[in-house]
Structure formats: structure tokens, C-alpha cells
């Protein structure tokens, strides 16, 4: 397996850090949480396994119509939700892990692994900041970073949400850097409303 830019020193520090030093905090309100004033509509996959809410106005849904893949390490697209002016987009994917992970198994190391995976897939990604948070009865990873996009620089927030067992879900929320703050609450709401039947709770 190729590895690009793996922060060995950071990982070593995590490896020897006592468990007590890795207590999981809550996300910032702008990062994760329902937006009370946002008018939303539900999206549900055909098998009703995955559900989320997104804005009622000015967003288009592009369903992927693909079934979950049972091959470990392989990602399958679930849905893309795109702002009509193409200022922002939310791409939801699933991945089957090689081994199941319980909520407690998600530590700062997993945040680093998610950052590493982003670097592998997107060599131009920079300023990655990963954190593991506990919210709504579940543990998830939030990675925020910058990357070049077709319409200029983009800011991205990826939510990595364990779906219970060996399934993991990634919500990649992006917007032009200039517009990111405007859509942050939408991203936070979509992530907080994302549920997996029999798996990740809200």
C-alpha cells in the first residue's frame, strides 16, 4: 500500500500517549449540529438504510444508485447533493473496512489515518486538521482542509462516521473558500442528520 506524507512523528506521539490524554470532546457548533432555522427535506437511500436531511431550496440530489460493496477497502458512492449555483457540494460515500470498529475504537489515531487517506487520494490537499468528536451518542472524525477546485480554492470538511460493524461513511462537504462560511451550517446539519439504520445514530 502506498503512503504519502505520513506524519510519522505525530503518529508516534499518539501511539505512546496515555488513553487519558485522548479524551474525546464535543464538536464546535459550526462544525456539527442541526440548524434549527434551516428548512430541510429528507433523503433516503432506496434500501432505506441511510437517511439524511438537506436544504429544501436550491440543492439538487444526484443519487448514485449503487449497492453497498462487500469488498473491504472499496468505496461505493451513495449520493451527491449539489448546490444549484455549484457553490457547494456534499458527496456521501461508504467504505467497507477490513475489520469492524466499535465507537470506542475511534481515537485520535483514526483522525490521523483519515487525514493520511485524504493525502493519498488528493495530493494537493493542504492544511489538514483532523479531530475526533463525540456528538449525538456517536463518535466521528471531522477533517477540515483546503484544496484547489475547478472554480478556485475550495475548503472542505469531511465527516467520517462509523456505521456500525465494518461500514464507514464519509460525507465530503466542499465549498469555494469564499463561500464556505455561508454553507458551514448546512454541512453541520447534514452531518448531524445522517443516520444508518441499525448503525450510526444521530
Amino acid at each position: 500500500m502506498t503512503r504519502l506524507g505520513w506524519p510519522v512523528v505525530a503518529l508516534a506521539a499518539i501511539a505512546i500517549a496515555p488513553l487519558a490524554a485522548q479524551e474525546i470532546g464535543a464538536p464546535a457548533p459550526n462544525e456539527y449540529g442541526r440548524a434549527q432555522k434551516l428548512e430541510v427535506q429528507p433523503f433516503e437511500t432506496g434500501n432505506k438504510q441511510i437517511r439524511l436531511e438537506f436544504p429544501k431550496k436550491d440543492w439538487d440530489v444526484v443519487p448514485a444508485n449503487s449497492a453497498p460493496v462487500s469488498v473491504p477497502g472499496v468505496t461505493w458512492p451513495i449520493v451527491s447533493i449539489v448546490q444549484k449555483r455549484r457553490d457547494a457540494a456534499i458527496v456521501v460515500e461508504g467504505v467497507r473496512l477490513h475489520q469492524p470498529l466499535a465507537q470506542d475504537d475511534i481515537t485520535d489515531l483514526f483522525g490521523e489515518l483519515e487525514s493520511s487517506a485524504i493525502r493519498e487520494r488528493q495530493s494537493l490537499a493542504k492544511d489538514l486538521q483532523a479531530k475526533v468528536v463525540q456528538a449525538g451518542g456517536r463518535r466521528l472524525v471531522i477533517v477540515t482542509y483546503n484544496r484547489p477546485g475547478t472554480a478556485g480554492a475550495e475548503r472542505v470538511r469531511q465527516y467520517t462516521i462509523p456505521g456500525g460493524g465494518a461500514d464507514l461513511y464519509r460525507l465530503t462537504c466542499s465549498a469555494t473558500t469564499a463561500q464556505f462560511a455561508r454553507y458551514e451550517a448546512v454541512f453541520a446539519h447534514v452531518a448531524a442528520s445522517f443516520t444508518v439504520a441499525g448503525g450510526g445514530t444521530q
Binding site: 500500500m1 496515555p18 488513553l19 477490513h98 470498529l101 475504537d105 483514526f110 489515518l113
Partner: protein, 182 residues
Amino acid sequence: MRAAANDLPVPRKPGESLQDWQQRGQALQARYAFAKVALDRGDYSAAAGGFAAILLEEPGFLDTPQLLVKAREGLRAAAADAIESGNKLDAAGDWINALKKYDQAREIDRAVPGLDDAYKRVREKMRSAGTAALRRAKQFDAVGRFAEALSEYEKAVQWLPGDDPQHDAAKTRADQLRARLK
């Protein structure tokens, strides 16, 4: 060479023949000399055992009581040294060898102060570190980084106690990954 009867530091027992008395006295002197040599070379365990055996047979034989105290002090000091070495290994994170030093200390002197606390402290650290290693292993494993996962599973196997269910789970997965990475 036969010792003269009045040279023997052993009182004659009632009804004991002269020959038996002489043989017994010579045997005690030989054991005394052996134990004293052991004491002089720092083999406190052999010395203490020898002196204690002599005193069982002949209480108050020469200066054996004092030498037994000295041997036991040496034992206790050697055990304390072993604990100290173990503590240094513990501080350096070498818990496996720290436990070996504590085992040595226990063999030397089971009653040495601080031994139980030292065992408990290191075993708790190992259990905690083993649990953390297993957690890291699962995370590496989940995303397919098998070499790193194996390294962490091996640490978990080494550090978790054998009666911990997580120990067997870590060992099973480590074996699978080792075979896969061959």
C-alpha cells in the same frame, strides 16, 4: 585428620559415642565453612540456607546466628537491588524485563518490601498499554494498513495478560496478518 574432642565447638550429646560426636562436629564445621565461603562471595541465598540448616541442628553453633542475620541482610539488599533495577526498567518502558527483575527479587526474598506494589504497578501499565495497542491495531487494520496493525497486535499480545479475552483476539488476528504479510 581427626579433631581432638576438646577442639570441637559442639557439646557432646548424652549417649553419643566419641566417634559420632567427632563426625558430627566435623560435618558441622565443614558446612559452616561452606556457608561462610558462600557469604564471602555474596551468594547470600546459599549462605543463609547453610547457616539456617546448621542452626536447626546445633543452635548457637559458633557465630552462625550472627552470620545468618548477615546473610539475610545481604539477601534483602540483593532483592531490593533487583526491585530497583526493575523500577528503572519500568521507568524506561521495558515492562517485560522489569517483571523479570521482580521475579528475581521474589526468588531471593519473597518478603522484600515494595514487591507487590511494583508488580501491581507494572501489570496495570501493561494492561493499559496493551488495550491501547489493541485499539491502535484495530484502527490500522480497519483501513488496510496491515504491517502497522501487526506491529500493534504484537504489542497487545505481549502486554495483555494471558487471561484477558482481548489477548486471544489479538493473537488470533496477529497470526492471520503474519500469514498474510509473508
